[in-house]
């Protein structure tokens, strides 16, 4: 964790320095975008503000660490496969388990609260966060656990442009997630989710099983949170999952607000804006003494405040015309 910026070599020429920071920012933005997407999908479909997102992110990262480095599942049954494939399978398994956990959480703690004040439901997710984080911390003995990813600290260099392999992977994964979601929203289930998000009562009147939609939204949301947790636990953002990993959701929060709580597009754009802004600020303002050393981390929040002043619903959010 922390605000490590790859390729921040002071001797670089201005353009090179900028482009490298930009690449790094986009990669960080991809992580925020994954987290924001999960958050927004849950919010859109169920109107629940999920404060357990950080806990889910950390648990997901921990599961990868467990499957990939401790138990080698499912690789142990696969014979001779490459390290990359072995790790990818472990990560996919972790995501599947997280999706299942999301469904279970919805079923046990959210579904019974349908119709109760949203504030109460939000408080439940806050309690949930505590439970998940405590459990996860216990599982990892309150220490840092490496994820065993095949990329480590390897860097790709194209001329002066340097970017960590994990960062490229993060960006590619975000693209994949975007494509998959775009396709998903065209399917019958995706249509049901969009309909429910737009107007729950009308969705029910069409015969859509809103309970199922809620479960699916939580499944997808938890898996996306985990994805964000995974990429924030590998280099260069982190060196494994630890008790601070869950804070990544807190750092993604400005991205969610800037994009608009209920906008899928906003989650991606907001994530990228915040990632880039944070890294650029770290790069150029990191040395400005009176701003303090962690100013990069403050910039997203400043940005959020400015956006909220101009557009209270975020860049792509819908104004609150809550249909009754």
């Amino acid at each position: 964790m922390g605000f490590v910026v790859v390729a921040q070599v002071v001797t670089q020429a201005p353009v090179e320095r900028f482009l490298n920071a930009l690449g790094s920012g986009v990669a960080l933005g991809a992580i925020y975008a994954m987290l924001a997407l999960g958050f927004v999908i849950i919010f859109k479909a169920t109107q629940v503000v999920n404060f357990a997102h950080g806990g889910l992110a950390a648990l997901g990262a921990y599961l990868v660490s467990y499957f990939a480095t401790v138990s080698n599942i499912p690789g142990r049954w696969m014979g001779d496969i490459s390290v990359t494939l072995q790790w990818t399978l472990s990560a996919l398994l972790a995501l599947a388990v997280m999706a299942f956990i999301g469904v279970v959480i919805e079923r046990i703690t959210i579904r019974p609260m349908i119709g109760e004040p949203l504030f109460a439901v939000a408080m439940i997710t806050l309690g949930l966060d505590l439970v998940i984080r405590t459990t996860t911390n216990d599982l990892m003995n309150n220490t840092n656990q490496g994820l065993g990813d095949p990329w480590g600290v390897l860097v790709v260099e194209i001329g002066f442009f340097r970017i960590a392999q994990t960062q490229i992977v993060a960006i590619v994964v975000l693209l994949l997630v975007g494509l998959l979601l775009a396709r998903f929203f065209k399917t019958r289930t995706g249509l049901a989710l969009r309909a429910t998000a737009f107007d729950q009562e009308v969705a029910m009147a069409q015969g859509i099983s809103v309970g199922k939609v809620f479960a699916i939204a939580w499944g997808i949301g938890a898996a996306l949170a985990a994805l964000g947790g995974i990429f924030s636990s590998v280099a260069p953002r982190g060196a494994g999952v630890d008790p601070f990993t869950a804070l990544i959701a807190f750092r993604a929060f400005p991205a969610i607000i800037i994009g608009g709580l209920d906008s899928i597009k906003g989650a991606v754009v907001g994530g990228l804006i915040v990632g880039v802004a944070e890294v650029l600020a770290g790069t150029y303002l990191g040395g400005v003494a009176w701003l303090g050393i962690g100013f990069g981390g403050v910039v997203p929040w400043l940005l959020m405040m400015v956006v909220l002043l101009v557009r209270p619903y975020g860049l792509f959010g819908t104004p609150e015309i809550r249909r009754v």
């Binding site: 349908i114 249509l191 049901a192 309909a195 009562e201 859509i208 099983s209």
Partner: protein, 264 residues
């Protein structure tokens, strides 16, 4: 086909809105349910279609039976599967979706894609206008077009009973006539209709039978012809009361209130 018997509905455990309401729709009929603002018409619809829950409403007493099975404890999606669809008050199209996607939502509970395709083609045939605007965003359609879309969406479920909640609300007379003809066509094609309206003239002109409700109860019912000829109905629902004369509260018409009827 549909029987509602002695229905009592309470909102938030305290507000009694339906007080022993009974009505019946027979196979193939168009039945009108008339009543003033706040009489409880929409509540009847919610009770039939399983939508009370999300309005914090509950059926305290009574039953809703459809084709011999009690449905008042089923959830909305089961009721749609059982064959009851609805066109909600205020159209309520998915404004952000295309016309096509709106229609698809109507058939979402149907996994048989060939049947869905059939329904889709039938709906586009019924509303050629929707066909030409398939890819347009529903929110940009006019009120009348949105009403067509809402009806088309409901028809996508291949309902055996279709319930309309004030479909003429806010539409110009020409469009009202168009909607009326559409309802007749739908009915002729084999779908029974429960038509909730304030526009009694329009509703009774196509319905076989009518119920008039006030404050949660049926206060009068009968063949449409009979209702249309009734002096009190004329006065209160057809706007034929004498000019300048003070409009009495419907409550004052004693014989309506005294008439107590249970339909089994």
């Amino acid at each position: 086909m549909l029987q509602v018997a002695n229905l009592e509905v309470v909102y938030r455990d305290v507000i009694l809105v339906l007080r022993g309401l009974s009505l019946e729709v027979r196979e193939g009929q168009i039945v009108a349910l008339l009543g003033a603002n706040g009489a409880g018409k929409t509540t009847v619809l919610r009770a039939i279609t399983g939508l009370l829950d999300i309005h914090e409403g509950d059926i305290a007493k009574g039953t809703v039976t459809y084709n011999g099975t009690e449905i008042h404890r089923k959830d909305a999606s089961q009721i749609v599967k059982a064959g009851i669809a609805q066109v909600m008050e205020g159209r309520r199209v998915f404004a952000e979706m295309t016309v096509e996607d709106n229609l698809r939502t109507g058939a979402i509970s149907n996994k048989d894609s060939a049947k869905v395709k059939d329904a889709y083609n039938r709906v586009l045939e019924m509303f050629p206008l929707l066909a030409s605007r398939r890819k347009d965003t529903a929110g940009y359609l006019s009120g009348g077009e949105q009403q067509m879309l809402a009806i088309g969406r409901a028809m996508m479920a291949n309902p055996s009973l279709l319930i309309f909640d004030e479909p003429s609300l806010g539409l110009a007379p020409m469009l009202v006539a168009q909607i009326r003809d559409t309802i007749v066509d739908i009915n002729k094609a084999g779908t029974s209709v429960l038509l909730i309206e304030q526009n009694a003239k329009m509703a009774l002109s196509i319905a076989e039978y009518g119920y008039i409700m006030e404050t949660g109860k049926v206060v009068m019912d009968g063949d449409s012809k009979k209702l249309l000829a009734d002096e009190d109905v004329k006065e209160f629902y057809l706007g034929l009361h004498s000019e300048g004369g003070e409009r009495k509260s419907f409550r004052d018409v004693k014989h309506y209130k005294r008439r107590k009827r249970w339909l089994s």
